[in-house]
């Protein structure tokens, strides 16, 4: 099953589980604009991909501002698309190459998101989930309620 970011609450929980302080995380029902490392409106998605959704600038539903990531970083953001289910992740090359907020961290967020969303699904059915971490994989055992 290819997991897509759809659930804002699960995404925030995943980011906290991946080491982001909760009070660093901005949540916007309507996506908010991102800024680059110089404080200008970030426009990478339009410039690089001509994605019409981001013609007015990069924007995201979940944001960690560059002030928390360290100087020379752009804002980090994840934009959810309710129609397609595909998320757009804004993580600048400087972060990827020079900080711990990199692709490994992003992969951890994905895994923690899947865990949070799965746990929520089974909890709504009255079932408990037991987690066992196996290296970079997570085994979830779903039991009766």
């Amino acid at each position: 099953m290819e997991v897509e970011f759809k659930d804002l609450d699960a995404l925030v929980e995943a980011m906290v589980a991946s080491g982001v302080q909760r009070d660093w995380i901005e949540v916007h029902k309507e996506p908010a604009l991102l800024q680059d490392w110089k404080g200008r409106t970030s426009t990478y998605r339009w410039n690089d991909h001509q994605d019409p959704r981001f013609k007015d600038g990069d924007k995201a539903n979940v944001i960690v501002r560059r002030s928390h990531l360290g100087s020379c970083n752009n804002d980090f953001g994840i934009a959810l698309d309710a129609k397609t289910g595909k998320a757009v992740v804004f993580l600048c090359d400087f972060s990827r190459q020079n900080t711990s907020f990199n692709d490994k961290w992003l992969a951890k967020i994905r895994r923690e998101y899947t865990y949070a969303a799965t746990k929520k699904h089974y909890a709504s059915r009255g079932q408990k989930v037991h987690r066992v971490d196996e290296g970079n994989k997570i085994h979830l055992f779903v039991g009766a309620g």
């Binding site: 099953m1 290819e2 997991v3 897509e4 759809k6 289910g85 992969a107 967020i109 994905r110 895994r111 998101y113 899947t114 865990y115 969303a117 799965t118 699904h121 089974y122 059915r125 037991h130 196996e134 290296g135 970079n136 994989k137 997570i138 085994h139 979830l140 055992f141 779903v142 039991g143």
Partner: protein, 118 residues
């Protein structure tokens, strides 16, 4: 054994299909195994399919002469969760040592079942 979902390194999920799975994204469903009447006419047989996720165990008959279909279905699920999805221990890439260990474990299980069912 409880139902197992494996969250892979990339955040995607591998599991045995059931109707109550969370709808987290598009699903790709492939047949992992078959439970059919044993060719000898005595009980039921469980055989892994040729699907890629079965790795070096593709096509293996993992149980024969199982007295009831219900028991065969249970064996099927248990085997796939333990040896294909890798519950309970870290999965390793197939290599000579791993295959020897796995074969020894499977043969021991089959011998135990033969003893139980006469």
């Amino acid at each position: 054994m409880d139902k197992l979902l494996v969250i892979r390194e990339d955040g995607n999920v591998e599991t045995l299909y059931s109707d109550d799975l969370p709808q987290l994204g598009p699903q790709k469903i492939t047949r992992a195994s078959n439970v059919e009447p044993d060719p000898d006419g005595d009980g039921w047989q469980v055989q892994l399919s040729a699907a890629p996720q079965n790795g070096c165990l593709k096509g293996w008959v993992i149980a024969r002469h199982v007295p009831t279909r219900a028991e065969a279905l249970k064996l099927e699920v248990d085997f796939i969760q333990r040896h294909i999805l890798g519950a309970g221990r870290q999965r390793q890439e197939a290599g000579p040592v791993h295959i020897r260990e796995l074969l020894a474990e499977i043969l021991a299980e089959m011998a135990e079942r033969r003893v139980q069912h006469g």
